[in-house]
Each structure stands twice: as structure tokens, then as C-alpha cells.
């Protein structure tokens, strides 16, 4: 590609995550596929995060890039490349780096000061070193630590964890400043800068984690940005946002719909897998209802729009889930609750100490009061909870579970009820060949090989049930829209498709889908397909039951289909539940929901912890608390265990922090808390908390064991 030919100002960068890009060979395949497109600039890869950064002309739709990578045989998903997000992370990195550099210099001065305490350093040098430390600390306090002040002031819920951090920095600095100017008393510049640096580095890693997990957040981003609209009999490309009710749109083959409407042509074939989780395509007649977010899998057709992009059923479902998610965010997290108790107690103790010493020995009053504030070490407290949580998240990632929010981790131990969606969640999203009925003298093996040779040319989801390893090749293959495939295999004319196409009378009912095959127009075979349970569904359900969880299956399908699955697993079920009604029976604070379709969005949002399966769409993934990166359902057991282990470690960490304070604060109140003791106490308690949290990095996970054995 010639980058020079592209004007620089029209280039934008799109980030695409490719889950199955493992090696350099994969990335070169991706870049080769991309170079076939017009208007591609620099392509960069990050193989660790499995992301590709593509510079391209702004006229090129990111959806086109995704489709091109898909065509090369990968599973790409669009990552939100908002400029603001990377700025935040970079900004934190800059502040942390500068803070660390300055801290090192302050430490150097402090060591000289501490050494001076035990030898006979001249007072003038002690003062000079104090002033030097003061100058070095000013940028840390006035620039590096600003994010903490901002968050503390903006916090809507009153006292958040940023409040004690901001207080510790400001108070520590002001005390030191006053003492430096007075020329007597201790200075704490080293403790202040070290504290600010540790917290900034922690924040930076936090932000990086969040950036990496941010996928498509906006509903409209998950839909095509342009559509083909008929204006005065002429087809024109217009932005999707400009589509209004009454417009006539031309939907080409494979295109995703951006609006609700009705079909104007004779027939259409719609893929609604993202909507219902149902992998079979739906055939529509003239006037049939079309939904935004679904894909056209048949021939191109005209549609009349009944609702523009903001009034669609997809938008309505999304609005419900967005509302519920906003309410979830309002719940205060554990750290905030701890801070809300801790800060008032510390502040009143400090006041008490000052008042006490004013009455006993006024010269000591200010120093003792401030020492209480410094020594009470919000550092261990501020680290106690996040360190444990991030260790748990890291461990879960290794086991194939991507947990997006630490808040969900806090809610996990309270879960008592687990709700599952049926299609695509408990059952395997891929269809399975359950039974072959031969109608001539050929062996079933031969029949399957013939079917496989033809079906590898079909993109219909049911075609995936047939093995492509039969070793036969088909010629003059012809796709029959909505029906099946026709072609020559070893000189014989083979047709495979629906019973109607092959002139069969359908006999299968209930759980099976029927596919028929004719050879030279003679009936040859009947294939029965079904969606089996996931391989480890039964074992997982048994395990969860033994652990005492209440299990419910919620499905939009009708009763018989649900009953069969629920009975085979031995769990309760509710059939024919509308998407909006799925969350009706949830017990607040105790429900985990596992789902995969857009129809699960309201339930996913309402549930206290929501889990999306591997095979779902980006929109669903972006709305769930956790995403399974494995097709094993057993990952849910690991998730629940991790929640419990994490809570245990947090309790231990908080107990330690409180114990430390019970010893340190009385000492400070008694007037014995020199600067060096405060610095040592602070770092030791932080290290203890971190080491304890790191135990979570080794917690046992069922997923890792099976993978090692398998």
C-alpha cells in the first residue's frame, strides 16, 4: 500500500482485537488480507494482547476491515479506539514516572537526614536538605497527585478511597512544609512521595486493564455506519443515523440491518443468532418483520423502515440494559464502605489527640495530632482490597475467564441463584449430526462423506454439523437460496437441503432438525441434527448443585424443548419467557446469569453478576461482567470459587491493616512517632498486604487442570 498517496489528515486508526491470532504467521496473514483493501496505511500488531492497529482512510468503514479479517479465517472484534481512553493511561504513566524520579531524589536526602539523626550533623545542613526535599516534592504534590484530588472532590458518594489518599498526601506535605519553615519538628517528604508513587503506579495498571477490556460500548458502533437508501428511485449511500421511518433501504447479501422494518421483496433469509441465540436462519415472506442487528443471509432485498436506528427493538432492549447497568454502578464498593468508616474515625482521633496535648503540653499538640494522620497508613488500607482483586482477575484470566469489573468480584460470594439461558449457553452453539437414516443401499459413512463434500460450500449454520474430512470433492456446486446445495460428486448429481427441496415429507419433530439428500433425484438419506448439551454441562450442573446453588433455566423457546433439556439436567426451568421478563424472578444481590444472545441483555444487566459465553456478539460481551474465553461451562465454578477466595484474602488484609493501626495510632497519640518509624511502618505493612494478595495468583482452578491433562 502506498501511504504517501493518502492525505495524512484523513487517516484514522482503528483497533481490532483478534482472539485467535497466536503467532507471527497469523499476523502476516491478517496484514496480507488487509493490504487487499484500498486506503490502508500502517498496520501494527500487538501479539500479546492479540490486537491489530490499522491506520486507514476515514472513508473506509471499520466494519469493512472486520469483515476482511473474518474472510481471512479469523474472529475479529472491534475495539473502542476513543482517543480519550489511551490519553488517560498515558497521562497516569507520565505522572507516575515523574513522581518516581522525584521520589528517588527525596529518598536520597532522607537517608542523609536519618543518618544525621544518629550522628552529629550540623543543623544548617539538616535545614538545607529539608529545603531540597521540599523543592523536589512540590511537583509531586502539585502535579503528579492531581488525579487523586480530582476524584476525591468529584466523588458523588461522599467519601471514597481517593479521599484518604488525597488527605494523606496533602496533610503530609503541609506538615512537612510547616516544620521546614519553622525549622523544628519532623519532615515526611519521603513518605509522601513514596505513597504518591505507589498509588500512581497502581492506578496506571488499573487503567491499562480497563483499556484492554473496553470493547464496543456504543450500540450504534456495533452496526454498519452506512446504508443504501432509495431516493426518488435512485440508490444512494447515506449515513445510518439519517435513516427515518418510511425510508426504503436496499439490503445486500450478508449485510447487517440497521433499522426495524418490513420486507418488500418476496422472500428473505435472516440470521437472528445474535438476537435469539437460535442458530437456524429464519425465512420471511413479503411484509415479514425485520429487526436491526440481524443479518441478511439470502439474496438482496428492499425493506421499508418502520423504526429508525433509535426506535428499534434492539435499541429498546439495549436501553433497558443500560439503565440497569447505571443503577449497578451506583452501589458502593467495599473499599468505599471501608473508607467511609475509617476516615471519620481517624479524623476524630487526630482532633482528640491535638486537644489532649493542648491541655497537657501545648508544644507537642500540633506534632502529635499530625503524626496520627500520617502513621494511620491509608497505604495498606488503600492497597488491601485492590491488590487482592487484581490478583484474582489475573488468575481468572489464566483459567479463561475475563472478569471486567472488580465490583462484580465483590458480589460473587453472595451469589446463591444461577440462571442459564438455554440455546447457545447450556446447549452447544454448533449443531450435531444425531442420526443418519439411509434410504438406499449406501453405507452411512459414504452418505456422510457425500454430504460433507457438498456442505463445505454452504455457509448455513446447519452445514457445520457435517464433517469435511470425507475426502470427496464436489463440482459445479450451486447454492439454492433458502433451501440447500446442489452439485456433482464423483459423477453423481447430489442435492442436499430441506425436506421440501428434496420432495420429502418431513417426519422429524421436536428436538431434531431434518436435512435430506437425493442422489440423481432418488431419495438417498435423511439426516437428523440437534443441538446437544455442552460437553461439560452435566458435570458443571451437578457440581453447582452439590455446592448448594439454586439453578434455573430461562428460555424464550416453548415448553417441550425446554422440558427435555431441563429434565436431562435435573434443574428448574421457565419456558417462553420474553427478553424483558427474564429478570423478573431475580433475587436482588444473589443472582448470576449466564447468557449469549441480545435477548439476554436485560437479564444480563439486571443480574448481580452476568456472564457471556465465548460464542456471542461484541454487544453482549460489552454488557456482561464476565466473558468466558473457553467453551467450557465449568469456568463458572472457577469464577464462583475465585470470588470466595478473593473475599477471604481481602478480610485478612483488612484485619492486618486494622491491627497495624491499633498499634501505631496509640503510639502516635502518645507522641512517639518519628519520621523514620512512620516510613518503615508504611512500607512494611504495604509489602505484607501485597504478598498476601499474591497468594491468589496460585489458587487452584478446574479449567487449568483439565487443560493440562487434556
Amino acid at each position: 500500500m502506498n501511504t504517501a498517496a493518502l492525505p495524512a489528515d484523513s487517516l484514522i486508526t482503528t483497533t481490532i482485537a483478534i482472539q485467535d491470532m497466536h503467532c507471527a504467521a497469523c499476523s502476516s496473514k491478517v496484514s496480507k488480507a488487509l493490504s487487499e483493501l484500498q486506503g490502508i496505511g500502517v498496520v501494527r500488531f500487538n501479539p500479546i494482547h492479540r490486537q491489530v492497529f490499522i491506520e486507514h482512510a476515514s472513508t473506509l468503514n471499520p466494519a469493512t476491515l472486520v469483515r476482511q479479517i473474518e474472510r481471512a479465517g479469523f474472529q475479529p472484534s472491534l475495539v473502542d479506539s476513543g482517543a480519550q481512553r489511551s490519553n488517560e493511561g498515558e497521562d497516569l504513566l507520565r505522572r507516575a514516572g515523574v513522581s518516581a524520579l522525584l521520589m528517588m531524589q527525596v529518598m536520597m536526602g532522607s537517608f542523609a537526614l536519618y543518618a544525621g539523626l544518629f550522628s552529629d550533623m550540623e543543623t544548617v545542613w539538616i535545614r538545607i536538605l529539608a529545603y531540597a526535599s521540599l523543592l523536589l516534592s512540590i511537583p509531586v504534590v502539585t502535579w503528579c497527585a492531581v488525579p487523586f484530588y480530582r476524584n476525591a472532590l468529584q466523588s458523588r458518594r461522599g467519601l471514597s478511597m481517593d479521599t484518604p489518599i488525597a488527605l494523606a498526601i496533602v496533610i503530609g506535605f503541609v506538615v512537612s512544609l510547616v516544620n521546614t519553615l519553622r525549622g523544628i519538628g519532623d519532615v515526611y517528604y519521603d513518605a509522601v512521595t513514596m505513597f504518591a508513587t505507589i498509588m500512581l503506579v497502581a492506578r496506571y495498571f488499573d487503567q491499562r486493564l480497563r483499556d484492554r477490556l473496553r470493547v464496543v460500548e456504543d450500540l450504534q458502533d456495533s452496526l454498519p455506519r452506512q446504508v443504501c437508501k432509495q431516493i426518488n428511485g435512485v440508490l444512494q449511500t447515506v449515513p445510518s443515523a439519517a435513516v427515518l421511518a418510511g425510508d426504503v433501504l436496499w439490503i445486500t447479501e450478508g449485510e447487517q440491518l440497521v433499522a426495524d422494518g418490513c420486507l418488500m421483496g418476496d422472500q428473505a433469509m435472516l440470521d437472528e443468532v445474535s438476537f435469539t441465540g437460535e442458530s437456524e436462519w429464519r425465512k420471511l415472506q413479503t411484509g415479514g418483520r425485520l429487526h436491526a442487528g440481524t443479518f441478511n443471509r439470502g439474496a438482496a432485498f428492499f425493506m421499508r423502515v418502520t423504526a429508525g436506528p433509535n426506535g428499534t427493538r434492539l435499541a429498546a432492549i439495549d436501553a433497558i440494559s443500560a439503565h440497569a447497568l447505571a443503577q449497578k454502578l451506583e452501589l458502593s464498593s467495599m473499599t468505599d464502605r471501608v473508607a467511609a468508616i475509617f476516615i471519620p474515625v481517624i479524623l476524630s482521633l487526630a482532633t482528640l489527640t491535638t486537644v489532649f496535648w493542648l491541655l497537657v503540653d501545648p508544644a507537642q499538640a500540633v506534632n502529635a495530632g499530625l503524626a496520627v494522620l500520617i502513621v494511620s497508613c491509608p497505604c495498606a488500607l488503600a492497597l488491601a482490597v485492590p491488590a487482592a482483586m487484581h490478583a484474582s482477575l489475573a488468575r481468572l484470566r489464566q483459567a479463561g475467564i475475563l472478569l471486567k469489573s472488580t465490583a462484580a468480584l465483590e458480589r460473587l460470594p453472595d451469589i446463591r441463584v444461577i440462571c442459564f439461558d438455554k440455546t447457545g449457553t447450556l446447549t452447544d452453539p454448533e449443531p450435531r449430526l444425531a442420526h443418519v437414516e439411509a434410504l438406499n443401499q449406501l453405507s452411512t459413512h459414504r452418505l456422510c462423506a457425500l454430504a460433507g463434500a457438498l456442505e463445505q460450500h454452504a455457509s448455513h449454520p446447519l452445514a457445520r454439523a457435517f464433517s469435511r474430512t470425507g475426502g470427496l470433492a464436489a463440482e459445479t456446486v450451486q447454492l439454492v437460496p433458502g433451501g440447500g446445495v446442489r452439485g456433482r460428486v464423483e459423477g453423481q448429481q447430489v442435492t442436499i437441503g430441506s425436506p421440501a427441496l428434496c420432495g420429502f415429507v418431513s417426519t422429524a419433530g421436536g428436538q431434531f432438525k431434518e436435512i435430506c439428500m437425493t442422489i440423481d433425484d432418488q431419495p438417498a438419506a435423511r439426516f437428523l441434527l440437534d443441538n446437544p448439551l455442552r460437553a461439560d454441562a452435566e458435570a458443571t450442573i451437578r457440581h453447582l448443585k452439590d455446592d448448594g446453588f439454586a439453578l434455573v433455566m430461562l428460555s424464550g423457546d416453548d415448553d417441550p424443548a425446554c422440558q427435555r433439556i431441563a429434565n436431562s439436567l435435573g434443574i428448574d426451568y421457565e419456558a417462553a419467557v420474553a427478553p424483558e421478563a427474564k429478570s423478573a424472578g431475580f433475587t436482588a444481590g444473589r443472582t448470576l446469569y449466564v447468557g449469549d444472545g441480545v435477548n439476554d441483555l436485560p437479564a444480563l444487566a439486571k443480574a448481580d453478576v452476568s456472564v457471556a459465553t465465548l460464542e456471542t456478539t461484541d454487544l453482549v460481551k460489552s454488557r456482561a461482567d464476565a466473558i468466558l474465553l473457553t467453551s467450557r461451562l465449568g469456568a463458572i465454578i472457577d469464577l464462583l470459587h475465585a470470588g470466595q477466595a478473593c473475599r477471604r484474602i481481602i478480610r485478612q488484609n483488612l484485619t492486618w491493616a486494622v491491627l497495624y493501626n491499633l498499634i501505631a495510632i496509640p503510639m502516635a497519640m502518645a507522641g512517639f512517632a518519628p519520621a523514620w518509624a512512620a516510613a518503615i511502618g508504611m512500607s512494611t505493612s504495604s509489602i505484607i498486604v501485597l504478598v498476601n494478595a499474591s497468594r491468589l495468583l496460585k489458587m487452584p482452578m478446574t479449567g487449568l487442570h483439565t487443560e493440562l491433562r487434556g
Binding site: 503467532c23 507471527a24 493490504s35 500502517v42 500487538n46
Partner: protein, 57 residues
């Protein structure tokens, strides 16, 4: 003893230079993609363009 004062001033200057260099490097995007370069060695058909270490295709 004057020497100590000069050393303290030198500390200030060096710290300032280091901080500015760090900010400059991070603005240039040096820390955006730290995992990439270690893996470049595995990639065979990459043409390096002079001066700039981006991959051009």
C-alpha cells in the same frame, strides 16, 4: 562544604532532565506497545523502512 550545595543543584538539574526526557518519550508513544519488539524477531517477511520502525506494507 560548597561542594555539597553544587551536588544538590546538580541533582535538581539531572532529575529535571530525566523527567523531561521521560515525558517526551511517552508523548512519542514509546510505551504504547511494549510487547511488540520482542516478537518482531519471529516475523519473517517484514520490511523495515529507514529511520522509522513502523512496519510498512
Amino acid at each position: 562544604m560548597d561542594l555539597m550545595l553544587w551536588l544538590i543543584l546538580a541533582t535538581f538539574a539531572l532529575t529535571g532532565i530525566a523527567a523531561l526526557a521521560f515525558i517526551w518519550a511517552s508523548r512519542r508513544g514509546q510505551f504504547n506497545n511494549l510487547d511488540r519488539h520482542g516478537l518482531d524477531i519471529l516475523d519473517e517477511d517484514i520490511q523495515k523502512s529507514g529511520g522509522n520502525d513502523e512496519h510498512l506494507r
